[in-house]
């Protein structure tokens, strides 16, 4: 009996010791080591790939934004509004803190159809020369993360006619801006072609003289 108790106690002691060793090795040592290497080797990426203009961070290359002005290109719908908010939305509690995700509407959910129909209608009011059939799927559907920085090149293209009017920039220039912010499939195989909307809008703002040079 005493032997048994002694052996199970020593088993427990080993379990606790190994747990504590691994806790510090994996739970503290490893993330600290990786932070140190990352901060030295890739400081820009390790700190969120922020874009600075006039010394001020205006966003991250990785994350979309909710663009409202009519002279800016639109992102996809977002369930979390890209975590963008105004002063008053913060004060009245409409903005509840940093989040990510989608509405999680099932394909059969009537709320999904209602949201898409409303978005199509609003989009057609702003772009009267288009019909519903011209709109690519991605522009009217919400991304999984609610933070998707990209739209497809087709979705960028159909917004240009309106942007020519609202920005006063030429079609050629806008096409060039979109081209400059397009990333293609890796090796022509992996992933999809995509346009970074924040990149496009920063370039538009620069050409319109709204902001200074990017650092």
């Amino acid at each position: 009996m005493k032997e048994k108790l002694k052996s199970s106690l020593s088993g427990l002691r080993k379990a606790v010791l190994i747990t504590v060793i691994l806790l510090f090795l994996c739970g503290l040592g490893y993330p600290m080591l990786l932070t140190a290497i990352a901060q030295v080797a890739f400081p820009h990426q390790a700190n969120g790939s922020l874009i600075h203009i006039d010394g001020q961070a205006v966003g991250s290359k990785l994350i979309g934004q909710d663009f409202k002005e009519d002279y800016f290109m639109k992102c996809r719908p977002s369930a979390v509004n890209y975590n963008t908010y105004s002063e008053e939305q913060l004060e009245n509690g409409v903005y509840g803190g940093v989040a990510s995700g989608s509405n999680n509407y099932a394909p059969s959910n009537p709320d999904l159809v209602a949201r898409v129909e409303a978005d199509i209608e609003a989009f057609l009011v702003e772009n009267p020369h288009l019909s519903a059939n011209d709109i690519p799927t991605d522009l009217m559907t919400a991304s999984g993360s609610g933070l998707d920085p990209h739209i497809t090149p087709e979705s960028a293209k159909i917004q240009l006619t309106k942007l020519v009017e609202t920005t006063g920039l030429s079609m050629e220039l806008l096409e060039e801006i979109v081209e400059n912010n397009t990333e293609n499939k890796l090796f022509g195989i992996f992933g999809e072609n995509r346009v970074n909307v924040l990149g496009v809008n920063i370039d538009i703002a620069k050409h319109m003289g709204l902001i200074g040079a990017q650092e």
Partner: protein, 574 residues
């Protein structure tokens, strides 16, 4: 489509060397990195008072696993409850509520990583590191350790199952830690943040503000996939551009979660083959890739995986007819809940992979998948053996191999044998018990949830999809997967406690029974292979195995699947 095939072909090139390395680590053979790791390991053994030479029987092995897991649960729970302290907590996160802490800690110790909280608002960096990252290492290593011991039992070369602590430490120091650092750095290079700063608020070019999440994300990302854990740093998991910014990071995450479960099968093939060859010609075994027994199992898993990927891809590519009727072109496929940079191809591949390899990370929202596209992840969690996570998938597959041997043996009137051991009444009873636990947990908890007010309140999508949401949650819990139909409002007492129980039983009951089977087989004498032996390394056997798995799944789950995804599909396409 093409990119899926190319991605999988490159995977095959990676998994074989990894499998051979894993085999060397598991059998204490020489590897190139020994000079460094031997010292590290010896240091840890000395600190922990472990005698690495001392083997354990199956009972002692399982006991050590459970006691160690219990200690980790205790420490982890404590940290979650006190995380409000200002240590690594720049965002001022408060303490976690008790039932949610219970659910979270069970979820991470069982390698499930079901998350009823959202990382941005629910966890401090201290908890992310010392609870989440820590448990991601140890729960994965516990699973692999159990698997290595299980295969030792089947191979039956040694007298005992090995030492649990030694297996655990070796798997962490020689495989998980070095790979995590490499993959972590790759992810940072691609853009995943790795810092300890507070979230950043920027002023946008429209004059608004935007919050951008920060933290040690890359450190968590790499082990999240390597350990087939799956719990995200942020709420939307690997769909968020911060966790998975580019196509390269996506492929890196895919390979990270696929490589070790696949390698486990190769390790199994090698460990089993070794004995056979040695007996036959008494020479040192040559290097081999799979081993014939491993090849059977790998092929069966591969066939089921490929069927899943293609069904999921074509279902998503077909789009959503409800939106088509609303006037939105569906030529691009069903893009709701998906990211533009991944499109349909990489999303379908990731979805099938994460549920087959029981990781549970998502790069698109599974709740928004088309009914049939969503049925594939559901089905693969119900099977829980298409590669499967952290070694446990292989153990589940072996259960079905034993069952197939038994059924085929009966059909042709031969004594069932596997790997040179007779399969008898005791093993068959345990196997049947093990196979039945999984559907029993899923179906009875689903019935409980849809039968009670508290359960029904969680459902957020109307119609047949509501049942799919419930079913998915319990399939994910019992399979220790951790992905979710995230619409489900699951942070309530009811959901926290029931899914906690499903995860707990799904993990430990299976491991105990499987180890018991291995322990029982280990003690048996080898029988000589004769002309009457049913060979288990043939193509015919692979096909029989796949069919048996599908037939059993159909018998158990077809009724409930037809009420959920199938019914939703029929109404949607009508």
């Amino acid at each position: 489509m093409f990119q899926i095939i190319v991605t999988l072909m490159i995977y095959m090139l990676l998994v074989i060397p990894m499998g051979i390395y894993l085999y060397h680590v598991a059998t204490n053979k020489h590897t190139f990195a020994d000079p460094v790791f031997d010292r590290v390991d010896r240091f840890i053994y000395r600190l922990g008072g472990i005698d690495p030479q001392k083997g354990m029987g199956w009972k002692k092995y399982v006991m050590s696993l459970i006691v160690m897991n219990a200690v980790m649960v205790f420490i982890g729970y404590l940290i979650l409850r006190i995380q409000a302290l200002p240590i690594f907590n720049p965002n001022g996160i408060g303490a976690m509520e008790p039932t949610l802490s219970f659910n979270t800690i069970i979820s991470f110790i069982t390698n499930t990583n079901l998350q009823h909280y959202s990382g941005e608002s629910g966890l401090s960096y201290l908890s992310q590191m010392m609870v989440i990252i820590f448990l991601m290492f140890t729960s994965a290593a516990s699973g692999y350790a159990a698997c290595v011991a299980f295969v030792r039992g089947l191979a039956g070369k040694e007298k005992d199952m090995g030492n649990f602590y030694v297996d655990l430490v070796r798997i962490i120091t020689r495989i998980l830690l070095p790979l995590s650092i490499i993959v972590g750095l790759f992810l940072v290079w691609q853009g995943v943040p790795q810092n300890l700063n507070a979230n950043v608020t920027v002023n946008t070019i429209e004059g608004n503000m935007q919050d951008i999440a920060m933290g040690p994300i890359a450190a968590l990302e790499s082990i999240k996939h390597l350990g087939t854990n799956g719990g995200g740093f942020l709420g939307a998991n690997s769909a968020t551009p911060l966790e998975n910014p580019t196509i390269l990071s996506n492929i890196a995450e895919l390979y990270s979660m696929m490589i070790l479960p696949g390698a486990c099968v190769i390790m199994f093939g090698n460990m089993v083959r070794n004995r056979k060859k040695q007996e036959k010609d008494n020479t040192k075994p040559k290097r081999c890739l799979f081993g014939s027994e491993g090849r059977t199992v790998f092929a069966a898993m591969g066939i089921m995986f490929l069927i899943g990927v293609f069904v999921c891809y074509f279902a998503e590519k077909a789009g959503n007819p409800a939106l088509g009727q609303a006037g939105l072109s569906q030529s691009m496929g069903s893009m709701e809940g998906k990211e533009v940079r991944f499109g349909i191809g990489q999303s379908a591949l990731f979805t099938t992979t994460t549920t087959s390899f029981t990781t549970g990370t998502v790069n698109n929202m599974h709740d928004t998948l088309t009914p049939i596209g969503g049925m594939i992840p559901l089905l693969h969690m119900m099977l829980n053996l298409v590669f499967g996570g952290k070694g446990v998938g292989l153990m589940n597959m072996i259960m079905y191999v034993i069952l197939t041997v038994f059924i085929c043996g009966l059909m042709i009137g031969r004594t069932p044998e596997y790997l040179g051991k007779k399969i008898e009444g005791k093993e068959m009873k345990l196997t049947a018990l093990c196979i039945i636990i999984h559907p029993l947990l899923i179906l009875s908890f689903t019935a409980l949830a849809v039968g009670t007010q508290a359960g029904m309140e969680g459902i957020t999508n109307p119609g047949f999809h509501g049942l799919s949401q419930v079913l998915y949650e319990y399939a994910s819990s019992a399979a220790n997967n951790g992905s979710g139909f995230e619409g489900l409002a699951d942070n309530t007492y009811f959901w926290n406690i029931t899914t906690g129980l499903a995860m707990f039983f799904g993990r430990y009951l299976s491991i105990i029974i499987q180890m018991a089977i291995a322990g029982s087989l280990m003690k048996k004498r080898f029988v000589n292979e004769t002309i009457g032996t049913l060979r288990t390394d043939t193509k015919t056997f692979t096909i029989a195995l796949v069919l048996i798995v599908y037939i059993f799944a159909a018998l158990t789950f077809f009724p409930v699947l037809s009420l959920g995804p199938v019914a939703e599909h029929l109404t949607l396409w009508n």
